[in-house]
Symmetry: C2
Subunit: 270 residues, 2 copies
């Protein structure tokens, strides 16, 4: 099957699973739990899973793969960097609001903060994420940073980003586990009431979303073409044409993808 | 710093963190918990975290990076494949014994099996792992499998392996969370007794081990050289010489590493 079609299948599958996760967490907090509010009670706590799934999982995943979307390859690299950074900053803001919600809830109920492995890994992820954003802006958005510094730090930037994203998903799985044990009393979690099944499936959905984003992000043949190809495409086609499978951009894209697919395979067949 | 020294630092750091994880889980089950036994009670349950950390986390991690060890590059690729497969099979056996221990414990105590997200993701990981081993043997150890099939499936084999390994670590983090909530009553998990702190640090250690293994496994410049270079090395040096930094193997290795490092950077600097 054509490489471009394969990409589309994986990307739209990731979108479907991502929106599915958001739907499941919404059903959980609105239907099984106490809804949403900002009163120091359970309804305030519920912002925590909701905003984490929308932001730290879904939006962060989209921010990670945004360079891979072929219909953005006619946009300048600089604009795509701003979109990538902007989505990450938005994610960070949602994560901070989400953390405030859970601290407020704990303080109102006299529950200690930061005692669980969930909170340790989660706070580490938030701190590393803020460092990643600051480093990313300093290295890749400030024009004065020399190219050799950008090149030297790119593998670290990519790895850290994927590591933080994966840690966030692991943290979510611990969070679901905690909430199901503490929140379900009679019937308890071990009696598998409908809420337990729903949230277990939510856990499988965010795991699958993570797996799809990591697959898309690590395929060499799905990378954005080099800036020279992207520029030559940008000057000879409108954004409308980019979507048209008969234009030059698509032909260049497909050729480029095919070449890289073959190179990738030759390299990996050892 | 020299690429070879960098590899050694990361590899020995991974070993140290891995052995640290095993030490922490041993202290947990022997000192804080009920020790080890096979009686359907708590001592039988304790084999579950112990064997999972030793096998599904530590041994699987070593199996993943075993091709990266420069002192194995004079061994034939076939022998390294058997070591890689052997370590994974050993891991699978330990994982199965570990799962039997927890089912026995649940059945003896009338606790339902397979209700938690931990058990769902964990069982999925065990099943996917067995499929990965069967596929790996069929594709890469049976000589009749055509080279184009091996090449086509290599990206899937690598990705699935790393995905399963990461899922296992996420499952361990959920398992630690469950056991701390159920096992600690007075003082409870939220009161942060020494056992809670110990197991939280165990969680950080296995996360760090996972991060190190993923970093080592995904550096293109640390890959085993192509079979041609490995063969020419194998015929001209003994295994003793491989450890000597002045031999041909090291020079070839360093040249190869340096070339691949530059290629990798050029590709990633965009």
């Amino acid at each position: 099957m054509d490489n471009y079609k394969q990409f589309l299948i994986f990307f739209f599958l990731a979108l479907a699973v991502g929106f599915g996760s958001i739907a499941f967490v919404l059903i959980w907090v609105l239907y099984n739990r106490e809804g949403l509010g900002w009163d120091g009670g359970a309804a305030e706590f519920n912002w925590h899973p909701l905003l984490m799934v929308i932001g730290f999982i879904f939006l962060q995943g989209i921010a990670i793969v945004v360079y891979r979307l072929p219909w953005t390859w006619s946009c300048s690299k600089k604009m795509m960097k701003f979109i990538h950074a902007g989505l990450h900053v938005l994610t960070f803001i949602l994560a901070v609001i989400s953390v405030v919600a859970v601290f407020d809830f704990h303080n109102a109920k006299n529950i200690p903060n930061m005692y669980s492995l969930h909170s340790w890994v989660g706070l580490a992820a938030v701190i590393l994420y803020s460092a990643q954003i600051v480093m990313g802006i300093a290295v890749y958005l400030i024009p004065e940073t020399p190219v050799y510094v950008r090149a030297a730090l790119m593998p670290v930037h990519i790895y850290s980003g994927l590591f933080i994203f994966t840690s966030v998903i692991a943290t979510a799985l611990m969070g679901f586990t905690e909430k199901l044990i503490f929140g379900l009393k009679s019937p308890a979690y071990k009696d598998s009431p409908p809420e337990a099944i729903l949230v277990n499936f939510l856990g499988l959905l965010v795991t699958a979303f993570g797996g799809l984003v990591l697959w898309i992000a690590t395929r060499p043949s799905w990378k954005r073409p080099t800036e020279e190809i992207a520029r030559s495409v940008g000057s000879s086609s409108t954004s409308q044409e980019v979507f048209n499978t008969d234009t030059a951009v698509t032909r260049i894209t497909h050729l480029d993808l095919e070449t890289r697919r073959r190179n990738g395979k030759a390299e990996e067949s050892g």
